[in-house]
């Protein structure tokens, strides 16, 4: 199947380069996709993946290309309109859909674009949308407004919209980033179906496991250069990670036996109907407790209750052996709790504000001068201190936080919470949108913090992440703690079986 010529090429690029202001974003990269193939484009953030996609879709013109072939047609360059007309479609991570419009309109939107006024045929539009969805083996309420749909179904709508444009080559940018495992499985099923239909799909993802699962070949790009093209058969996650980052990732179990350490946090029979029930949870000083489970299993809801964002109606919590029942986030923070939210972009950071202000927001009371006003020098000292301690790469403390990479942004979030000197740190999916290299850095910090005695609750749906970094793993399903595992005695594979059964 991997034999050249077995299938025709959907896309063939050779020696493509693109320069931005003297920096080579792409340097002589080759890339080819066959019809009906699922191909993965892998690389860290900023390696040139998006530039490559934008050249194929005509957003950028290449500064040089030895060959540029689309469905067998030789091209010099291409405009967005020409690209779309030839069946190229991109589903960006933000989906570019219209939340207030109906599902049918979103699927058929492109037929409405244009300046020649004409009527809208809602019935015909729905019929066509239904046909496309049937091709994907999905039924959706076509009249529902898109914002009422969960993100996984929005993803399906975006795919249907691409098919509506008769796409034959679809780029999918991080399509599973905000999906649960079961939703991801369903999406991958749809992708396989499309591929069987002859549609070529280029998959861009940080989740190496699913890349290996779905793609037949993977092209790895690093710093704008091609590392190589590899069949996924026989490829391991560790090897792929190494190819992407250029260095070996040390992934091994770090669990320690913490049974004798003093208890920091304890929950007994904690329950909130519809979210979780009968939760018993103990977290000890210096211990990293992993909490794993599917999205919707009640993990984030439990964290919210621990942070005072919701009030459990049964059971009790104790913090340092004192009854603990926070009525608000503020109260939880003042008692020594810290929560790194899973949604860094919207809940973790204030993207428009400076790095210094983002770090200072949770500890304003400690930055006051003798008049009770916020002291700027103290604020700058605070962030400078954390920049050194956590190895954050920043320009100036006054720069907007949005100028930082995902990994460095997440470190600022950590700094903001560590500055409150918490007793218990809750990390909710801390590596979403953080690339492979930076993940290792974040977990190194987490383990250091635990060594220094901080109690940590690590929530994630990536089994390997939890298994390699926690001292103890709890499995949560349908609002209950379904099992407890010792990372030293269970394999990633075995744990995945339990969770996704």
């Amino acid at each position: 199947m991997l034999d050249d010529g077995a299938a025709r090429h959907a896309l063939r690029l050779k020696g493509v380069s693109k320069v931005f202001g003297g920096v080579k974003a792409l340097d002589g990269v080759d890339f080819d996709v066959r019809e009906g193939e699922v191909h993965c484009l892998a690389g860290e953030n900023g390696c040139g993946k998006s530039t490559l996609i934008k050249i194929v879709t005509g957003v950028y013109q290449p500064d040089g290309a030895e060959a540029f072939e689309l469905f067998g047609e030789r091209l010099e360059s291409i405009t967005p309109v020409q690209s779309r007309a030839r069946g190229v479609s991109v589903i960006w991570q933000d989906l570019a859909l219209f939340p207030n419009m109906s599902v049918a309109e979103n699927i058929a939107f492109d037929e409405m674009v244009g300046l020649r006024p004409r009527g809208v045929d809602y019935r015909g539009m729905k019929d066509r949308a239904r046909v496309v969805l049937a091709r994907l083996g999905v039924t959706l309420d076509l009249d529902a407004s898109l914002e009422t749909l969960p993100i996984a179904q929005c993803q399906v709508v975006a795919i249907a919209r691409a098919l509506m444009n008769e796409a034959r080559l679809i780029f999918m940018d991080e399509p599973t980033a905000s999906l649960t495992q079961s939703e991801t499985d369903r999406l991958l099923e749809i992708v396989r179906r499309l591929s069987a239909d002859g549609v070529a799909i280029v998959f861009v993802s940080h989740r190496l496991a699913e890349v290996l699962d779905i793609a037949s070949r993977v092209t790895v790009v690093r710093d704008g250069k091609l590392v190589g093209v590899y069949p996924t058969a026989g490829m391991t996650q560790a090897r792929l990670g190494e190819l992407m980052t250029g260095h070996l990732l040390e992934d091994h179990v770090t669990a320690r036996d913490m049974a004798t350490a003093p208890v920091v946090f304890q929950a007994q029979d904690l329950g909130l109907p519809g979210q979780f029930e009968g939760i018993d949870l103990t977290i000890r000083q210096g211990e990293v407790v992993g909490l794993i489970g599917l999205l919707g299993a009640g993990r984030t809801e439990l964290a919210h209750a621990m942070m005072g964002m919701s009030q459990p109606i049964s059971g009790q919590m104790r913090l340092h052996d004192q009854p603990y029942r926070p009525a608000s986030i503020r109260e939880a923070i003042s008692q020594g709790m810290a929560y790194v939210s899973e949604d860094r972009l919207h809940l973790g950071l204030l993207q428009k504000q400076s790095i210094a202000d983002n770090a200072a927001i949770s500890v304003l009371d400690r930055l006051l001068d003798r008049f009770g006003l916020i002291s700027n020098p103290q604020k700058i000292d605070l962030i400078r201190g954390w920049v050194t301690r956590l190895g954050i790469k920043i320009g100036q403390p006054d720069d907007a936080i949005s100028t930082l990479s995902g990994g460095n942004q997440q470190k600022v979030v950590l700094a903001k919470w560590l500055a409150t000197q918490p007793k218990l740190l809750i990390l909710d999916s801390p590596t979403v949108g953080v690339d492979v290299g930076a993940r290792a850095g974040i977990f190194r910090i987490v383990r250091d913090l635990a060594e220094q005695g901080l109690a940590i609750l690590l929530i994630s749906d990536e089994v390997s992440e939890v298994l390699y970094n926690a001292d103890r793993v709890l499995h949560m399903a349908q609002g209950r703690i379904a099992g407890e595992y010792d990372p030293r005695k269970v394999s990633v594979h075995a744990l995945e079986e339990v969770i996704y059964e």
Partner: protein, 331 residues
């Protein structure tokens, strides 16, 4: 049907309130549910409704326009000068002149917004001041009473004499309002251009990537709003039979409140003609009812303001749940 209810909750709620209000007024006064009262209510609110649908289109496209009422005054003044200059003109010329002047003023807004990437509230507050200041400066604040006869003549399209001798009638402004409301509905609901407007207001970046022409959308939204402002200006003169430069100053915020009450969202992508009409009529009926109930006219504004405050407060309470769901699901 269930979908219709789900997607049109604001409109439905407003309709229920409006119907209850009407029933209440019919029971407590003998004058509310008379043909004379209903027709005068419709005639008197024609100008507001024409403005409202124009503003609605801008709101849907994600913009805001503060300048439309003042623009209507400018149109009135210029049209009066032009029409008298060419010897009087007629209705066709009147519509042509007022319509094109209105579109022109709207396009000035659109051009500034598009060409220099200034947000619409800044641009329209600037043009609001510029239009009004220039108008008052040039006109010296003097009203124009010498107008062509056709312009100030009452055109009655329907009349009816009740048994007790009271006349009820529907006049030209009402008909023009119906046409404007209908045309706006056709534009935003039934044409591909209108759907692109919604999409642009909903997710500008997504619309741009799909190939929607942003410049055309801005021009369409503000041009339409300007057109409606021009026509509203023409009709307002027909009703009051004079051109008073500062007569319409200050009306923009009330129209804005009514349109937003009707479910149009500041920020774009949401709003319907039905909701818009209901919003304007809610305010109109409240005022009419207070009048009929013999409440001091000095208290009208206070009660309407309070009614809007209460309406916002209650409609948002029951939507809070939905809002959370949305932000939770779409992170």
């Amino acid at each position: 049907m269930s979908n219709l209810l789900r997607n049109r909750q604001v409109e439905f709620r407003l309709l229920v309130v409006l119907v209850l209000l009407c029933i209440g007024l019919s029971l407590t006064t003998d004058t509310f549910l008379t043909m004379a009262n209903i027709t005068s209510l419709l005639n008197n609110n024609s100008v507001n409704l024409i403005w409202a649908v124009g503003l609605l289109v801008v709101l849907i496209a994600g913009g805001i326009d503060i300048s439309f009422a003042v623009a209507a005054s400018v149109v009135q003044y210029l049209a009066a000068k032009i029409l008298m200059g060419i010897g009087g003109g007629n209705w066709v010329l009147g519509f042509l002149v007022c319509g094109s002047l209105g579109v022109l003023l709207g396009l000035i807004n659109a051009g500034l917004i598009q060409r220099f990437r200034i947000i619409s509230i800044v641009v329209t507050i600037a043009t609001f001041n510029a239009y009004f200041g220039l108008l008052m400066f040039i006109s010296g604040g003097r009203s124009i009473y010498a107008l062509p006869d056709w312009w100030t003549a009452r055109v009655i399209l329907f009349e009816h004499e009740a048994a007790d001798g009271t006349w009820s009638e529907l006049t030209l402004p009402f008909t023009v309002m119906v046409v404007c409301v209908g045309a706006t509905w056709l534009l935003i609901r039934r044409s591909n251009l209108g759907r692109q407007l919604y999409a642009f207001g909903d997710n500008p970046e997504g619309a741009r990537r799909a190939g929607v022409s942003i410049a055309v959308m801005q021009a369409l939204a503000f041009g339409w709003c300007g057109l409606m402002a021009g026509i509203a200006g023409l009709m307002q003169v027909n009703i009051v039979q004079e051109v008073v430069p500062n007569a319409l100053y200050g009306r923009e915020l009330e129209v804005l409140a009514a349109v937003v009450l009707g479910g149009a969202r500041l920020g774009g992508g949401r709003g319907t003609v039905t909701g818009c009409v209901l919003g304007v009529m809610f305010v109109a009926v409240t005022q009419n009812g207070l009048n009929l109930l013999g409440i001091s006219p000095f208290a009208f504004q206070m009660i309407i303001g309070a009614a809007i405050l209460i309406a916002i407060s209650t409609s948002n309470i029951s939507f809070a749940g939905l809002g959370n769901l949305r932000s939770g699901g779409r992170k």
